[in-house]
């Protein structure tokens, strides 16, 4: 197991959203714009890396029977940190993401990596895995958010792309648009993988 390969695997082949279909709740709910997707992805990455570090360091201390509650406590602590920091420094993003920031606690991607990887590996691989998985998640949310923002409001990162005459396809920034965009992106990704096998 080389670290580089582990990183790439976490980023692409085992991409949280497009391959493992984990963490779909935030991936579908907050990606109404590229910026929101990016913000959510980075917040999740921070929590994931930190929780991986702590869980990996404490893996010999935590009793197997209470490991899930212990992981949740660790994750919840870091989510609180993220939430307070966002409220202090990125208030607009904080308002846009709303309830989905505290909900990072129950993002199955984070708990999944704690259980499947961090609690079984040494510190450094756990960090690499956290960064790779987190960036893969961020990438997916950014792409999903970009596609939805592009068609749903004719802009990208807030800058108008199609000009003022464009009639936005409102559906794309509404919940059904999240599912449709997600499905189409999955199809594209499957096609791409099938060709490069």
């Amino acid at each position: 197991m080389t670290l580089g390969r582990e990183f790439l695997k976490a980023l692409w082949q085992n991409n949280a959203v497009f391959r493992l279909l984990l963490g779909l709740c935030p991936a579908l709910a907050v990606t109404t714009s590229a910026e929101n997707g990016l913000g959510m992805g980075l917040a999740t990455t921070f929590v994931l890396v930190c929780s991986n570090i702590v869980v990996s360091s404490l893996r010999k201390v935590i009793p197997a029977k209470v490991r899930i509650p212990s992981f949740i406590v660790v994750i919840a602590s870091f989510v609180t940190v993220v939430q307070l920091c966002m409220e202090a420094y990125f208030y607009d993003l904080y308002k846009a993401l709303g309830i989905f920031i505290p909900l990072i606690v129950v993002n199955c991607l984070i708990l999944g990596r704690a259980e499947a990887f961090a609690s079984k590996n040494r510190l450094f691989p756990a960090v690499v895995d956290g960064v790779g998985m987190g960036l893969g998640f961020t990438l997916a949310l950014f792409v999903l958010g970009s596609v939805r923002e592009l068609f749903g409001s004719g802009a990208l990162l807030g800058y108008s792309v199609f000009g003022p005459d464009y009639q936005p396809l409102l559906l794309m920034i509404l919940p059904p648009g999240a599912f449709i965009a997600m499905g189409l992106l999955l199809a594209v990704m499957n096609k791409f993988d099938a060709r490069h096998k």
Binding site: P168, L169, L170, M172, I180
Partner: protein, 331 residues
């Protein structure tokens, strides 16, 4: 005779009915409705019909080429989707709206699921609802009919259902006087989607389909019957607020929906009991959305929701296999 000896499993008696022949019959049956639409709304309606149909055919070709599948536009199913989509759009739809609808109907509503026979939702209704949610302004800009030769331009106005909902929202009661008459609504003299205006023309077409035995009574009758019963009950409770059942029948897309959209063979239950459940479900949802929902018209949402329930209905209404015991009984 190319083949003298024909080997196949049962059934051996075949009606000769094929997908293209069914689709052709449905297309013929829509001619009166299209004719009335062009009469009342003129060239704009004709152009919407053409753009939608050609758009659907083109999208079907492109999708099937891309997926390297045999191109099946000759079976007429894409053309029907196009015509039904056009009948579900307002006559003043801009060309890009119609074209986008056609692309969504075929690409997202049908081909992504694997083409004809595999789509869980009625493609034309998928497109209509996507457009309705995405472009509320364009999709709810209705115009009063301006019959050919009258020299009138299309004038923006509200549909009868919209008129009623507006009044109820503002005053809590029926509007004192509606713009049209029941007979006018029935013939098609009302603002609305291209194809929903004339109940008479749609019923003529449906009659032909009944005659050809392509339609069975189960879904349309239970659908319309449920709407009449339920809206009648509300009307009896409070006639000052709720419109009478006849109003529900002749306005909006009920006839178009009940006879053409809710009877799509692909997206509705196959068993008789399932069809009855489907029709009742559509009727209940339509009345509830019309009377209490945010939108004035609920036919398309009702049918799509029941489409989603179709696999479940089919599962629970499996007929008893011939020769097996009834529940609890002996063979």
């Amino acid at each position: 005779m190319s083949q003298q000896l024909y080997l196949s499993s049962s059934p051996h008696v075949h009606s000769g009915e094929t997908t293209p022949s069914v689709m052709r019959a449905v297309l013929y049956s829509l001619v009166p409705a299209c004719g009335v639409a062009v009469y009342f709304f003129g060239i704009p309606a004709l152009s919407v019909l053409l753009i939608a149909t050609l758009g659907c055919l083109a999208t079907e070709v492109v999708c099937q080429r891309l997926m390297r599948q045999p191109v099946t536009i000759a079976d007429g199913s894409a053309a029907i989707t196009g015509v039904l989509l056009a009948l579900n759009l307002p006559p003043t739809s801009p060309w890009w709206l119609t074209l986008l609808g056609a692309v969504i109907a075929i690409a997202v509503g049908k081909q992504v699921y694997g083409g004809l026979g595999s789509n869980p939702f009625n493609p034309a209704l998928v497109a209509r609802v996507v457009l309705l949610i995405s472009f509320p302004v364009q999709m709810t800009t209705w115009s009063a009919p301006a019959p050919l030769g009258s020299g009138l331009d299309l004038v923006t106005t509200a549909t009868p259902l919209g008129e009623w909902k507006n009044a109820v929202m503002l005053t809590g009661a029926m509007p004192a006087e509606m713009q049209g008459s029941m007979a006018g609504y029935f013939l098609g003299n009302m603002p609305g989607c291209i194809g929903e205006v004339s109940a008479l023309a749609l019923l003529l077409g449906a009659g032909y389909l009944f005659y050809r035995r392509i339609l069975t009574w189960h879904i349309p009758a239970t659908y319309v019957g449920t709407v009449v019963l339920l809206s009648g009950a509300f009307w009896l409770i409070n006639p000052a607020k709720y419109p009478n059942p006849v109003f529900h029948l002749v306005t909006g897309g009920l006839v178009l929906g009940a006879f053409y959209m809710a009877t799509d063979m692909v997206t509705t239950p196959v068993s008789i009991r399932g069809m009855l459940i489907f029709g009742v479900g559509c009727g209940v949802l339509t009345v509830l959305i019309r009377l209490f929902g945010g939108y004035p018209e609920g036919v398309s949402f009702a049918i799509l929701l029941m489409n989603a329930a179709t696999p479940l209905i089919d599962r629970y209404t499996k007929p008893r296999t011939f020769g097996t015991a009834r529940q609890g009984g002996s063979v």
